[in-house]
């Protein structure tokens, strides 16, 4: 039994290998890009909008509201990154209803790539919001002794993001596979339905956690500013 879809090599030429993960990832990406392109080709801002545009607007405004609830007030700035993460993971886990489809998120390479995106994006957003020096200073908060622990937490949460998504998706596929050999009809369907729920929850959690990390990186200087302003007011007032 294959643990991940990485081990299914469909085509190889020299050192280049085309495994099932890459294929399904690209198929998902092409499908999502083409779908979004087709829907947004004729956008209307007034009158009767098409049903597809309505659905897309619900998704986009829903994601934007969730990002704002995390504490990122400029939600539109982070919407492309976090929304893409959510939509990719969610679509991958929704497609497990297609027989024979193995979600690309059920492979550690895909989830590690997604987690690395978060790992790179968090300092970038933090620097663009706070400036380079004051972002680096957040690593020494509250004291300089915490510097190694802050760096370790940065690395370990990236690992946790990757392994959590991988474990959940892989376990869904694997449990259905094992149950198919034991109780062929009823239980695999029930577990697939449960897998749909877990997949959506994992997509939500992945993007929300990325949002929480970005919020922590961009806003850690804000409370100090407020306190400073309050002190100044006390001094002058």
């Amino acid at each position: 039994m294959n643990l991940t879809s990485d081990q299914v090599v469909l085509w190889h030429y020299g050192f280049m290998k085309l495994n099932e993960t890459i294929l399904t990832t690209w198929v998902m990406m092409i499908l999502m890009t083409l779908g979004a392109r087709l829907i947004t080709r004729k956008l209307l801002s007034e009158g009767v909008i098409s049903r597809w545009q309505g659905a897309l607007e619900i998704i986009v405004t829903g994601i934007e509201k969730q990002i704002r609830d995390v504490g990122l007030s400029q939600a539109v700035k982070y919407l492309p990154f976090l929304g893409t993460l959510f939509l990719f993971v969610a679509t991958c886990s929704l497609c497990i209803v297609i027989p024979g489809f193995k979600p690309p998120t059920g492979s550690l390479s895909t989830t590690a790539a997604l987690a690395l995106c978060v790992f790179v994006a968090v300092p970038l957003f933090g620097i663009s919001e706070q400036g380079f020096v004051s972002y680096l200073k957040t690593y020494t908060q509250p004291t300089i002794i915490m510097l190694p622990f802050n760096i370790i937490s940065e690395l370990s949460r990236t690992l946790a993001l990757a392994v959590r998504l991988f474990g959940n998706m892989m376990s869904g596929v694997m449990i259905v596979g094992i149950l198919l050999t034991i109780t062929p009809f009823l239980f695999p369907i029930v577990m697939t339905a449960l897998g749909l729920l877990t997949g959506m929850v994992q997509a939500y959690i992945f993007s929300i956690l990325a949002g929480v990390y970005i919020a922590a990186a961009t806003q850690s200087a804000k409370p100090k500013l407020n306190r400073h302003a309050r002190n100044k007011k006390d001094l002058y007032g």
């Binding site: 609830d69 946790a160 959590r164 474990g167 376990s171 939500y204 959690i205 929300i208």
Partner: protein
């Protein structure tokens, strides 16, 4: 018992132990978290959206511990590096 049997026995037994103990402790933690969240929801229904979101994030954190154990036990059963090593050692002879 030769070394192949020892590796097989230890792998299978530790896979079972890993998933058993590794499910039990996070389950206790998740139960406590959900119970506290339900109490807070009953006390402050207005804050339900914040509580629910924080609960989901926290549950994901706790659940990831169980997922680590699951991944380790799956590796022990289906992709055991020690087992492959032993097989490649003895298979050649």
């Amino acid at each position: 018992m030769d070394s192949t049997t020892v590796v097989a026995v230890v792998s299978i037994a530790s896979a079972g132990l890993t998933i058993g103990i590794g499910c039990m402790c996070p389950a206790l933690g998740e139960g406590r978290a959900v119970a506290t969240a339900l109490t807070s929801l009953a006390q402050q229904p207005d804050a339900s959206s914040t509580i629910t979101r924080t609960l989901f994030v926290g549950l994901a954190m706790i659940e990831s511990l169980a997922i680590y154990c699951f991944v380790v036990s799956m590796i022990l059963i289906f992709a055991n590096p020690f087992w492959s090593h032993v097989i490649s050692q003895t298979g050649g002879k």
